[in-house]
Homo-oligomer: 564 residues x 2
């Protein structure tokens, strides 16, 4: 249910816009380009064609054009629809004797063969225009044609309405990429990342710096991929993130760093995780939380696709404590209400036994979610499943958050629209705890995020007395209930960093001596953030690409027999 809801959300993001899905593929890339504030790219520079298939309109009437593309349809050996990345165009196959060789080429080439045609842009005869096709007013009267590559029988048809299994799509990824949706996804991602670069680099003076990926092991964190080196017994590690590098860059006076950084985590093949992923990695000197938040709000506003509703800034923010209390999670989906309400006071003077039981315990509360119209929409078996969920997660703090989402799923399954997939509800979650009790040994502390996170300035005095009470300067960016980014103001004081590592976290300080030394050598105050997280679904959403952020052979196919 949850994953169903997630994939629905994905669809919401990755569909160009609800309004045009009924249109035949075509105007999309152009719309993407027009939506940019720049000049329209030249799409036919340096190549054999004069135009793309998708761009031809009545304004091109009479022009001699050369097009290259794939044969999408052929109708009665009279019409042929040619496709390129930009769209579809109708080509009229010449029927007169003198053009027999052209006709032969165009009629005999199998579907999905690659052809080059030259001819004239003409009007379609009155009544034969196709208003659903961006090029539907014109067609190409062909003079010459060339078969550039014949296509053998395909494992599936390149038509969006033809359903393929995910396995088949992955196996023949290059065929899947010919689809409207995949082309759109990859191009949208490219444009969004480009606009992010423009914002960071051209508007705000950030420096794009590549950091090494053959690195050494970092203590703590996720399992890392190791790479044997040529020296026996020694190996490299692929980095989980450029965290140490970017902090060292700040010590190096780079002031403003960013990188579209590849990160690696060897966490096995969970369906919603991928071993390599990409994040927009940012670090700034002399900045505070508000500075980073404004930067990111501006970044998303600037790079947001212009065919979507504009991003409204500043994003609302909520403390970790408030998120837990009202939404039962640190990543609330704020597209809908149904908040968790503390109704302890209402019941404090009643005699209902199990409520009194609960209220008598330390920090015992009674909480409720008001499902308006719940009585109308929810059926008996829905209530049953909610009860079961509650029982299954009994005594877990997150149960109320889960119940809230489950209620929303159930209501939507019954036809109520609670979470508009076209709505993007950003939220900052702040004031996380700096430490958590270790799972395996609750008497000891571990970092709630990472050990370089600075404590909240108001709580520094508690570090020596009640470290568990210290809030951090970590912040998460949440979108529609998913964490899409996170960062913090870092510790720039070597003594404080040593105290936290050695005394509070009981870490081996030697493993991070290079970082501690760097802090001693004039490290400026600094902070940063990374957008785009490891989850495939989140990557997909962030980059608006369904399921496969990176194209290509499935990663599993990468693993091979080890060499002798």
């Amino acid at each position: 249910m949850f994953s169903c809801w997630l994939s629905r959300l994905c669809r919401g993001l990755s569909t160009p816009t609800g309004r045009v899905t009924h249109l035949i593929q075509g105007s999309l890339s152009r719309r993407l380009m027009l939506s940019s504030q720049r000049r329209i790219p030249e799409l036919s520079s340096f190549v054999a064609r004069t135009n793309t298939c998708g761009e031809l309109r009545s304004s091109h009437l009479g022009q001699e054009v050369t097009l290259c593309g794939w044969i999408q349809y052929r109708r009665q050996n009279i019409f042929l629809v040619l496709r390129d990345f930009h769209g579809l165009v109708q080509v009229v196959i010449p029927q007169d004797e003198s053009a027999a060789s052209v006709k032969k080429i165009l009629c005999e080439a199998p579907m999905e063969s690659v052809v080059q045609v030259s001819g004239t842009v003409i009007s379609r005869p009155p009544g034969q225009e196709n208003p659903k096709m961006p090029t539907g007013e014109i067609e190409i009267k062909v003079k010459s044609a060339q078969l550039l590559n014949a296509c053998k029988k395909l494992p599936f048809e390149i038509k969006d309405f033809v359903k393929k299994t995910e396995a088949l799509r992955l196996q023949y990824r290059y065929l899947d990429l010919r689809s409207f949706q995949m082309q759109y996804n990859l191009r949208l991602r490219s444009r969004m990342v480009m606009k992010m670069r423009e914002y960071l680099c051209n508007l705000h003076g950030f420096v794009d710096i590549e950091t090494p990926t053959l690195f050494k092991r970092t203590p703590g964190g996720a399992k890392e991929f190791v790479i044997p080196s040529r020296e026996p017994g020694k190996f490299y590690c692929l980095p989980q993130s450029p965290q140490q590098f970017k902090q060292l860059l700040m010590v190096g006076g780079l002031d403003r760093y960013f990188q579209v950084a590849r990160c690696y985590r060897d966490e096995g093949s969970r369906p919603d995780r991928q071993p390599e992923f990409t994040q927009i990695d940012i670090e700034m000197s002399f900045v505070d939380q508000i500075g980073i938040r404004s930067l990111i709000e501006g970044l998303l506003q600037y790079s947001w696709p212009s065919d979507k509703d504009p991003v409204v800034v500043p994003f609302p923010s909520m403390t970790f404590a408030e998120a837990l209390a009202s939404y039962g999670t640190d990543k609330p989906d704020t597209r809908f209400g149904m908040k968790i309400v503390d109704i302890s006071d209402v019941f404090r003077n009643t005699k209902v036994g199990f409520l009194q039981d609960a209220l008598s315990k330390p920090q015992g509360t009674v909480k409720a979610i008001c499902i308006s119209e719940g009585a109308k929409y929810l059926k008996r078996k829905d209530i049953e499943s909610l009860r079961k969920l509650a029982a299954d997660h009994f005594n877990q703090c997150s149960v109320l958050g889960k119940l809230r989402l489950e209620c929303a799923d159930l209501l939507e399954a019954r036809g109520l629209v609670l979470r508009d997939p076209a709505l993007f509800s950003f939220l900052w979650v702040v004031d996380f705890p700096l430490f958590l009790p270790k799972e395996e040994n609750p008497g000891e502390l571990e970092s709630a995020h990472h050990p370089f996170t600075a404590p909240h300035p108001s709580d520094i005095h508690l570090l020596h007395t009640e470290p568990k009470q210290v809030r951090s300067q970590h912040y998460d960016l949440v979108l529609n209930g998913n964490e899409i980014g996170g960062g913090s103001i870092r510790i720039h004081d070597a003594e404080l960093q040593r105290y936290i590592l050695a005394t509070l976290l009981k870490e081996d300080v030697k493993l991070l001596s290079h970082l501690l030394q760097a802090l001693d050598f004039g490290a400026p105050p600094h902070g940063g953030i990374a957008l785009g997280k490891q989850s495939i679904l989140l990557q997909a959403k962030f980059h608006s690409i369904t399921l496969c952020l990176k194209f290509g052979l499935s990663l599993q196919a990468g693993a091979e027999e080890e060499r002798g």
Copy 2:
């Protein structure tokens, strides 16, 4: 000698410009920004400062400013020079009693400590202006100051004139990065790559696509890094280049792809190689050689730093045969003449024994290099060293090329300037052979570049009869005697690719069956190029960064004891 010449070349590229090296650090970043065709980036957005140290001029007189930076000098507890990435500015330490706490902070902080100061921009007293300093007309009258981080004793001073060993610079890379030159290098690289992206993405509709780096083994090529997977006996490989991916993207109809791609080769620690490197990776459909060459010429012209002489296009081109004949190498340095001349005819009728010997052999020739003013500049021991070089490389085809460069080195050591380090002489080398005899077994063929390179259209008929005579559609881009890029038109015909792989190269076709199958499914004609090669020196030159393209801990430091 050769490496000395190379590093001289590096200096030529990485020095901002010969004309300003005598200036005190300051205006450089700003110049970089002004030189861009875009609006000037806001360098103080989102942070505590109002201005950067390096930007203040007389036009700021009277303004209240807040600056953050590192203490570069202090003079008699009266003046302090504050540095940030943007430049230097003089701060007047207040001497009156009421500002005793400010004075204490600014006088007691060790050099390289990080401070924040607020105050007014005032004129320097007449006669005290410093014309060598971009901010030399003004100084800051400080009202308040804050020590942000005190600096401990450094392993070396952050002053450009202080010489450090390479080892020390690598160990404390973050301190080295504070230098004028390193800041310049990293910022120049970032801006150049950004402009390349603008050209490709915004002007010509290229799609930036990230391809996976956890991949499978590719037959042939360099040794690859392997990464054990979770399945025993199976491993991933890091890719040597995205070659297969980008060809598959063309089959997928992406039309125009680029990526600033990380590549990996496990070739040990040769001093001029690095295990991971970056290339601007490009592939286009429906393109020919001339198309790719025009694209790249435009790319370099567009992204070239505006403080250098503009790049003149088109670049000259030369066949492989001509390069070998006139320069004795496939990467000629065309900044100077001294071409190799065939003077066989002159000697054909003489009686000089060793010349007649040479001429009587099959394809025997007598060749010469004319060193004008050689008699004036070269000393006896220079001639001796040339003789020795010739003897050491006797019978190697490349000896004349080596002699030519050695002559240039010798002449320059004697004070003649042959190769202006500010000159950038681009050259296309084309018409390479498609195959070479295998070194270990000259009866068999191997690809001169890679097996996906298309044969020259004029030579296709020779594939079945005299494959050794077939020229390829490979092209190299050479700059001042260094290969800085290379690419080719690829084979898009599956049958031709199978014939070359199986029959001519005797490769196991099964290992590339996925690529062959993709060619069968409507692959468009396509070609591409990659700029930026593995050699550290070439990377350095291309990206204008001396020695360390990527900042940070030396890669050797990445190799660690293997885990249990």
